[in-house]
Symmetry: C3
Amino acid sequence: MDFVSLFITDFIAQLQSPTLAFLIGGMIIAALGSELVIPESICTIIVFMLLTKIGLTGGIAIRNSNLADMVLPALFAVVTGIAVVFIARYTLAKLPKVKVVDAIATGGLFGAVSGSTMAAGLTVLEEQKIPFEAWTGALYPFMDIPALVTAIVVANIYLNKKKLKESPELAMEESLSKQPVAAGDYPSTRQEYLSQQKDPDDNRVKIWPIIEESLRGPALSAMLLGMALGLFTRPETVYKSFYDPAFRGLLSILMLVMGMEAWSRVGELRKVAQWYVVYSVLAPFIHGLIAFGLGMIAHYTMNFSMGGVVVLAVIASSSSDISGPPTLRAGIPSANPSAYIGASTAIGTPIAIGLCIPFFIGLAQAIGGK
Amino acid sequence: MDFVSLFITDFIAQLQSPTLAFLIGGMIIAALGSELVIPESICTIIVFMLLTKIGLTGGIAIRNSNLADMVLPALFAVVTGIAVVFIARYTLAKLPKVKVVDAIATGGLFGAVSGSTMAAGLTVLEEQKIPFEAWTGALYPFMDIPALVTAIVVANIYLNKKKLKESPELAMEESLSKQPVAAGDYPSTRQEYLSQQKDPDDNRVKIWPIIEESLRGPALSAMLLGMALGLFTRPETVYKSFYDPAFRGLLSILMLVMGMEAWSRVGELRKVAQWYVVYSVLAPFIHGLIAFGLGMIAHYTMNFSMGGVVVLAVIASSSSDISGPPTLRAGIPSANPSAYIGASTAIGTPIAIGLCIPFFIGLAQAIGGK
Amino acid sequence: MDFVSLFITDFIAQLQSPTLAFLIGGMIIAALGSELVIPESICTIIVFMLLTKIGLTGGIAIRNSNLADMVLPALFAVVTGIAVVFIARYTLAKLPKVKVVDAIATGGLFGAVSGSTMAAGLTVLEEQKIPFEAWTGALYPFMDIPALVTAIVVANIYLNKKKLKESPELAMEESLSKQPVAAGDYPSTRQEYLSQQKDPDDNRVKIWPIIEESLRGPALSAMLLGMALGLFTRPETVYKSFYDPAFRGLLSILMLVMGMEAWSRVGELRKVAQWYVVYSVLAPFIHGLIAFGLGMIAHYTMNFSMGGVVVLAVIASSSSDISGPPTLRAGIPSANPSAYIGASTAIGTPIAIGLCIPFFIGLAQAIGGK
């Protein structure tokens, strides 16, 4: 069949899948002014259960699979996470009215991964009965952490270079005087801990605290807990009787909430420079295509499944919504959170879920169906 | 078998059904002073899931069924909803110590539908293995909205007539001066929006804002979202794996909460005029019998199932507990909420669930079993 | 096979069971500083569902079983509950730096039962496919209430004797003046109600209010509601479709929370006298062994299953975490809550779940496997 028509047919069919339908439904009822509210505590436990389930799936799968198969996809996840930050540094940061640190932070957030988007991607693949390796969910941290670390390191190198160029003596003073202000701005002790990463004596960025901070966030720690339990214990009974059957249903509620939130945040776009809008629309596709291309290499060399390639692309097209922002806020305190968070949650996430998931599945099926 | 003995046997058997047992259990533990509390956020998500499930069931059923079958029951639902308001206008409103606007508002609330009561009715029917058309849940808005619209229109016509009769000039002034007080009394912007419906220049009531307000409430918007998803997308997987199996269990928790609440509100009855108590006890049976009679017409002419007749009667005997009160409060600001809400939640709802559901099922089985 | 090696093999295998794995996982992520939080409202509904399910299981089982089988185990539960208090009175209370009333209150808390620990025990038995009588969960109140009543009675007898010995006239005055202070300290009306139990005129403790207070707590009232519904109604459909399948999964989340809490409360140990730590470590094993020994009598005389013996031992090794503390605080207002609550939640509960459950299962299997 014709590549384009096959792609379009498939794209439209996927919008009827429960996962995407609930997302679009959420947008529509929010647009119509519905007073429906899902309590915050329910969203918290849903995110916990989804990520624990993804972790358990990954952990059990890794226990039962060949670790060698994972090496190349994991490596490509790391490469993509780092590449996304440099793309933002050399495209978005060069545009008019865009501050360089804001652009780097935005790149970090778009390189980091959204657990909800990944959950949606895995579920749509299952709904379409497209097979993929069960451990692909475990690729999450391999892209998430490198992206955040790279963004914070690149931003700090830039800030130090800039200060030394402008006024070498003043830079040192400012660096010393700015620390307490940043610490006061952020309420938790994490800030104090992370602020130590930028040591004014040697001007080098310490990487380990950034990694530790990422791992401690609620999203990654739920997922890694699930992975550890899947790897080292026998959670199969509770997985089959509880986490697995509840997954799709809980995801449908979360998709509804994300649709409503995305609509309610459309207003935030006005506050953001126009170029952020352009970036947020294009970036999910570009990042996804890079990961899709790398995934195809693994497909041809290591027999990585086409479903797995789609998962890698969806992870790349997603931008972090839970754990990324606090890490970046602590790591690059001079960047403007309304710039990077607005771009990600109001445009990046709905595009990644509503358009990129069907796009990459359609692409995979069109390639596979040729 | 004898009609009466068959009816009584069946009535008692139904009180052992999980749904009604949890309601009665909730009343008993509240009466015994139990300190058990179900968190508010849990009740919210349970109501959302129940109504989304009812909507999904309806939507999927409508997609797969003959629309012509629905016309007569839907029409009868509209007729019942309107009739209930006029019954209150010409019975309750004529009684001593009862204000006419309060009586009309009470009629509106008893004409409107309770999602929880309907959910209980559908579940008891399933528990008793009595077949009914899957789309009957979709009759909800056909009775709910006409009742609320009629109550608000009738109340405003009455208020305008009264004012013109008493003092034509003063009426206009009062109408103008009362608006801001009412708006200040009610915290949301909905009030301001709805208060525009009563335009002092032409003294006519605008109907569309009342409908819009009803549709935006959390109960109806969850149900209509479910219906739309059932009609236009393919939610069968998530329906079968999540919303359908969780339904009865979640309902049992909600019934427990409603039982406890009903008991704790028995004290509110003292504040309400005695005639409200008489009305609240009789109305669910009378409204249900009207709908039951109309349903029997559809049964004999259109082959509408006896189970469907029971659903129609249960919807009619129920009174709105979530979405109705704010709509009425905004639409008839001069009515006393403690009158109509007290009558509905403290007496109407427990009677509808605990007595009317077994009554109408018993009636249907006694008629069917003759 | 050798008794000791069989025991050790089995002990290690059980730490891989989902229930214990989530407990240990919770401790580990808390120790690593994870920011994961499970909302309070979710924990409340989980506890409600677990105890309702245990009650339903027990109620349905009692309805279908021979009541005579229950007499001996229930009697042994009562004996153990009372014995635990007297053990604390004649061991912990005699130690240096330990106040006698604090020791008695601690004994009451360790004699009372934890619903979460019992739920964990029942689940691990199921995971290990060890059969036990379904009604064993119903032994809970037979140990819980006698322990709390005994503790309050023994403490008040001690306090009255002490005052009469020290200064017969002053004792009476103090007894009268202390009442309002205690009542002011505790916010609810329960306090006022319970404070009436100690009538200054006859110095006797009234037992019925203590029993009533225990039955009204959220844990016991959920369980007794479930039992009553299981006994007198037909909840099998909702039990099989909802409460039973959700049980293990919900328990896994609660175990995670309890693991995180246990870790975060390790710091509280410093405030408690060292002897409380020794007591809290040894008591769960000693109490469990007493119940295990009594259970073995029922095993040999009444054919009580080995699984049932383990349940009795686990109930005895558990200490109350939800309903016990408020009852004791009201019944023995002069005892220091930080002493008995710290000992129970920081040490007693994790030891009971993490060590005693595998210990008693291992013991039962080693005896059975000989």
